[in-house]
């Protein structure tokens, strides 16, 4: 597949040659906005597709929060909207499970993997390492088109007769392993589409990832040694490495699953008895799927958080006018997280009947991850200590990220301890953990990035007041939704209602409160959407031809505001210093391409 592009598009680079050096050549609407091979345009395509999915995923959560918050009420408008899925204005059980499954899938993969890495790797890698484009712009374009095709297929699955996948985002067989819709409505065609979409998504991630890695390692400009790379690039590089190594495992997992579903093999199925009828599957084990799934699934959560960590490191340092504290420690801790992320996956499987010795080993590695995480947290705090923090929206989201990462990460310490996890596994405590550390923290990282690099993308600023409102609504609202979940001790997750249990049925008013907060938070996000699109056209323009609105050191701001194909008109700037020379050398800002002053030594 890698070579597929080369023949038809042998002229890709010739193309790039024309693009820069000022002399623009004709571009049609199609080549500029649709089949674009320009990293900047591809980045916007990822961002906007991601936003679309963000709205869909968030909306789904509002729908199922209606059910969770008011299990006894009916909402007639739901029936008008969804017909038989919400008969009598009440979300049906099948619909509820379809909603949470798609909510998880969409937000984890399509927003915070495709949307987040896709946007920022494409935008920042060529700009910040000083390259005219990705190593293979054509593959880069393909990567987006795989993403879009996957998106279309996933979206289409909402409209089929049996509805979308509904067996959880983790897609465990046998629930998802039998095409019989009487066992699980969503595991008919809906799940096949889910698998197809995921397979295309994985191809997308691999095509993107190999480009990111290659570009960072090969196409750095003169003087840009690895130790002069901004932390964003380090983070995106590590993310791509994790993706390239772990996504194939998920692909293998779902391929086996489809073999079972379509060709009646028995990789995952053994002695299945439906209504007293023994099916012919023999010898498989569902646990094998769990291993394959979590071998990706766990690194996946770091694929989500690491780019956000990189963005936040950069944003905090720029806005605090102070070098990021412990640059090397930041890189080493990322590396440690990368390595550890591959050897902790079974902490999602402590109670599957796993060998207890394995459980102990996975506890050990899991808790070790807290050490590099701790280093990062303290370094971020160190970065703003005695800084001169500009509390822009970007910086606020950066601070919010650190706060959320601490809160969510610390509960991970509890879950990581296998003996405590016996009680907490698959309860609302887990839901609280991963929403705070992933749902909210990673989103904050992404928002920080969007507010920070919006001027780079569109030559205009986003509205600052709206940005601040957006921040406070989300920050306070998100804590209101997810913090109380910690106190719903022992409540199992993925429960349509708790009414069948005396033990669990005590939190109705709290649940309603959380649902109200969820609705407010969702509306708050729409504020962001409005701000975003409004600012593209009407936002305050950045001043000058080479504006550097945040007085940042990195290379992306040395390129002209008009976004050229090829990024720089003449030479790509040569790099002389590390990216975090803030408030030194008598100046607040010392861009990377400024030679060292006499007597100054490099970092």
């Amino acid at each position: 597949m890698q070579t597929a592009h080369s023949v038809e598009h042998a002229d890709v680079h010739a193309h790039a040659e024309h693009g820069h050096g000022g002399g623009h050549h004709e571009e049609t609407f199609l080549t500029k906005y649709v089949f674009s091979q320009d990293h900047k345009m591809i980045s916007k395509q990822f961002l906007i597709t991601g936003m679309f999915w963000g709205i869909v995923g968030g909306l789904l959560s509002v729908l199922f929060r209606l059910q969770l918050g008011w299990p006894n009420e009916t909402f007639p408008f739901l029936e008008q909207l969804f017909g038989r899925w919400a008969e009598g204005g009440k979300i049906s059980q099948e619909f509820y499970y379809a909603l949470i499954t798609m909510h998880g899938t969409i937000l984890v993969f399509f927003v915070l993997t495709g949307g987040l890495s896709g946007t920022f790797a494409n935008l920042l890698i060529p700009y910040q390492v000083g390259a005219r484009d990705m190593a293979s712009p054509f593959i880069n374009m393909l990567s987006y088109w795989f993403f879009l095709t996957a998106s279309v297929i996933l979206f289409f699955s909402f409209f089929i007769q049996t509805g979308p996948a509904s067996g959880g985002w983790t897609a465990y067989p046998p629930l998802n392993g039998l095409r019989d819709t009487s066992i699980n409505l969503g595991s008919g065609l809906g799940f096949d589409l889910w698998v197809l979409a995921m397979a295309l998504f994985i191809v997308q991630a691999l095509l993107g990832g190999l480009n990111y890695i290659t570009t960072v390692l090969n196409l750095r400009t003169k003087g840009m040694s690895m130790m002069k790379l901004p932390l964003t690039i380090w983070a995106l590089l590590f993310t791509a490495v994790i993706g390239v190594l772990s996504f194939p495992a998920l692909l293998a997992g779902v391929v086996l699953l489809e073999f079972d579903r379509l060709l009646d093999t028995s990789f995952y199925l053994n002695n299945i008895i439906i209504n007293g009828h023994l099916l012919g599957y023999k010898g498989g084990s569902p646990i094998l799927f769990e291993h394959l799934f979590w071998f990706l699934g766990h690194p996946e959560v770091y694929i989500i958080i690491i780019p956000a960590m990189g963005i936040v490191s950069e944003v905090l340092s720029v806005h605090a006018r102070k070098p990021v504290f412990g640059y090397k420690a930041m890189i080493l801790s990322l590396l440690a997280i990368l390595i550890l992320s591959f050897i902790v996956w079974a902490h999602h499987m402590f109670v599957t009947g796993l060998n207890p010795n394995l459980g102990a080993i996975f506890t050990l590695f899991t808790l070790l991850i807290a050490i590099p995480s701790a280093i990062k947290v303290f370094n971020w705090i160190g970065t703003i200590w005695r800084g001169k923090l500009r509390l822009t929206s970007a910086a606020l989201f950066g601070v919010g990220f650190v706060s959320m990462f601490i809160t969510g990460g610390l509960t991970g310490i509890i879950l990581g301890n296998s003996s405590i996890d016996i009680q907490l596994h698959d309860t609302m405590f887990v839901v609280a953990h991963f929403h705070i550390v992933m749902g909210i923290a990673a989103f904050f990282g992404m928002y920080a990035g969007v507010y920070h690099w919006f001027p780079r993308m569109y030559g205009r600023f986003m509205n600052e007041t709206l940005g601040q409102i957006h921040f406070w609504i989300t920050m306070v609202g998100a804590y209101c939704i997810f913090f109380p979940m910690h106190f719903m001790t022992g409540l199992p997750r993925r429960y349509y209602t708790y009414a069948n249990f005396e033990t669990f049925n005590n939190f109705n008013s709290l649940a309603a409160f959380m649902s109200i907060a969820a609705i407010i938070v969702f509306l708050g996000q729409l504020l962001f959407i409005v701000n975003f699109f409004y600012s593209i056209f009407k936002g305050r323009k950045v001043e000058g031809e080479y504006a550097n609105p945040w007085h940042s050191n990195t290379l992306e701001w040395t390129a002209p505001v008009a976004r050229l194909h090829g990024n720089w008109e003449g030479d790509i700037p040569t790099v002389h210093r590390w990216p975090y020379d803030y408030s030194t050398n008598g100046k607040e800002c010392n861009p990377q391409n400024v030679p060292l002053a006499p007597g100054e030594h490099a970092h």
């Binding site: 480009n211 890695i213 390239v244 094998l288």
Partner: protein, 208 residues
């Protein structure tokens, strides 16, 4: 203009950082990823084999051994094609490309034949997992072959078309881009061949 490009890595054959062309580097990363895919599948096999009583062992049909020779010959021919291309021996190049294409098709055909034999041995795809894994791994490998075939076909079409125009043909060798593309394709074939050899050895060790 030339001066302006002085530090444009993207236009170079090799970058100073890794010493290879970036696209070749990219292909390697991709190979690493595909290797992970097969690693995941084969470890699934090992887990199954190790942990369940139902693994029914059998002897792998010898057709797969012969087929290994077939696929290795594709690799050899592709390499020869590349060499002829570099020496501007276009007739040899074209012939070798077409031969490789056909041989790879034969490989696929023989794999299908291998499935047939398995089935006759009483190992249908939905039978014992031990058998299912052979179908699984060969078909996943087959998908990679098909992708290689499609790309090779495009090369052949180009080469055959260029045959009519010797000047165009000559320009081809001067164009380093073309040669790079061919190198990438050849590397890809070596890679899928190596994967098969790995799979074969793996089978050989696990099925007796």
């Amino acid at each position: 203009m030339q001066a302006a490009l002085s530090n444009d890595n993207i236009l170079r054959d090799k970058t100073e950082y890794t010493g290879v062309h970036p696209q070749k580097f990219g292909l390697w990363v991709g190979m690493g990823s595909m290797a992970m895919f097969f690693a995941a599948l084969t470890s699934a096999l090992l887990i199954k084999k190790g942990d369940f009583r139902v693994w029914e062992n059998f002897r792998l049909p010898s057709i797969f051994l012969y087929n290994t020779l077939v696929i290795v010959s594709v690799s050899v021919m592709m390499q020869l094609a590349l060499i002829s291309y570099r020496k501007a021996k276009f007739f040899a190049f074209r012939t070798l490309m077409i031969l490789s294409f056909i041989t790879a098709c034969v490989f696929l055909g023989l794999q299908l034949w291998g499935w047939h034999i398995l089935k006759q041995m009483g190992l249908p795809i939905d039978g014992n997992v031990a058998g299912s894994f052979v179908y699984l791994l060969t078909s996943m490998h087959g998908v990679h072959i098909v992708v290689g075939l499609l790309v090779t076909l495009v090369f052949i079409v180009y080469a055959v078309r260029a045959r009519k125009d010797p000047i165009y043909e000559l320009r081809n060798i001067i164009n380093p881009k073309r040669q790079l593309n061919l190198e990438l394709l050849v590397s890809y074939w070596h890679f899928v061949d190596a994967i098969w050899v790995y799979l074969f050895i793996f089978f050989y060790m696990n099925y007796q």
